[in-house]
């Protein structure tokens, strides 16, 4: 089995497109629409990479990231944060919380693929 990526994204059409392009690039893709729901799986069996939307219902992307960085098993998990909010303050906050890469929507598919490859090569 290839490397595993978890996509936490509440927009079903976006997560469907992400699932498709990542699978075609050889990833095993899991999708969750809710940060709180995904937390359990993330702790039990962390994937190789997390693609995390910022604006999620319930637990926001920032909160998910904060929890992940506080836990030993997910402290170094590569996290690509996607957001429709382009505020500089959000980027700063994401970096403060330990995001690996920050990308604003709309993104190019090739840009996402390039980013996840780069993030998991190190």
């Amino acid at each position: 089995m290839g490397k595993r990526v978890l996509v936490i994204e509440d927009e079903p059409n976006i997560s469907e497109a992400l699932r498709f392009i990542l699978r075609r690039d050889g990833w095993h893709v899991d999708v969750s629409a809710d940060g709180a729901d995904a937390m359990g799986a993330l702790r039990r069996d962390p994937p190789d990479l997390l693609i995390l939307d910022l604006m999620l219902p319930g637990l926001s992307g920032f909160e998910v990231l904060r929890v992940l960085r506080d836990a030993a098993q997910t402290r170094d998990l590569p996290v690509l944060m996607l957001t429709a909010k382009g505020h500089a303050a959000d980027r700063v906050e994401a970096e403060r919380l330990g995001v690996t890469r920050f990308m604003t929507k709309p993104f190019a598919n090739a840009e996402v693929i390039a980013a996840v490859r780069e993030m998991t090569q190190a």
Binding site: A17, I21, A84, P106, N109
Partner: protein, 439 residues
Amino acid sequence: MPRSALTGTRIRARRNLRGLRQAELAREVGVSASYLNLIEHNRRKVGSELLAALAQALGISTDALSEDDDGRLIEAARAAALRSGADLSELERIDEFTGRYPGWAKVLADTQGRVERLERIVDQLNDRMTHDPYMGEALHEIISAVTSVQSTATILNDAREIEPDWQARFHHNILQDSARLAEGAVALVNYLDAGKTDEAGLAAPQEEVEAWLAARGFYLPELESGAVSPEMLVARQVELSSEASRQLAVHWLHQFRRDSVALPLDAFMQAVSVGGFAPDRLALEFGVSFDQVLRRTALLPAYAMETLSLDPPGLVICDSSGTLMFRRAIDGFALPRFGGACPLWPLYQAMQRPSMPMRVPLVTPGRLGRRFLTYAFAATRGPVTFDAPVTLQSTMLILPEPQSPAEIGPPQIVGASCRTCARPECPARREPSILMSVA
């Protein structure tokens, strides 16, 4: 008259203007030069008689010496000095400045006030652009749809083969997101069209009232029970930031209160649950006007709507000029915030035949048009006399209706306003649409 703390400074300034020496002025008003010196340095208060004598000797009114809003001038001057990073020594001379040059101090105070007002407006506009929840949500919706369309279109455009079921799914997603994008764009344009510059909060009173009611789910139990008057209910609401907003809210609450008295909640629910939602029958049964039933329906509590299996409705009310006076928004049916709406709306059609109820199914333009069932009614507003123009008030209730009853006929295509309507070849079009390409 309150004596200013800076009367002495002002006396000194006026004396210098007239080229009088302290001793000369003191002699003229019958005090010692040293006593006048203390007065001029604001170390002694001036009695009324002495003030009058000084004013007479200086050839000015006593008001010019004693009356001014020194506190305001000093504070404004201090604020201006602090803002520009003035030296501490300059700050210590503010009293002297405002006392000696009250005219210039007033110019400075007015300018300072204007700067502060403009800064507040800039802050509010900035806040509106970045933190306005509606704007944020609308932009998020549009960016999400654009992201999905772009990503999906790239996949479909890829030379590599895609399995048929994935292909079908992506085509469906693109269609869905295109419609979402068009709806989001319409909503955003309508929102931005209503540029308000009222410093009170950048929102028109009508918008404040609607937002205030929306935050309460368009239901006010205190009003329903009669426990408080509309005036009391409105008095402590910080969201209603201006007197105009509060007056408007009181106006509508009185109207809604009359509606709820005429159509008591329990009896209304009972009647609907027995005979279904038929506004004409309900108006007859309760002996009220048709538009009262429409307003009452739009201001039912959420639990009542659920019990009656009705989805949250929209409501729009306009006057004879077509101006929308009240709006309760409903998903998928854009209500312009400003300017004229679609003239094909039953709301306007009803004004051509006052007192005759209308029931019209509608569909919004585009391939994924949303369907609604509307009820409309126009009635005279105010007294009907020979001596004054008679005005009408039209009301339209909008109910989500995926499938209208067949006997009503096919739905009519209507938009929100021409600018944001994608309907081609519309007989009522008054200006080109910015969305024609998405039809």
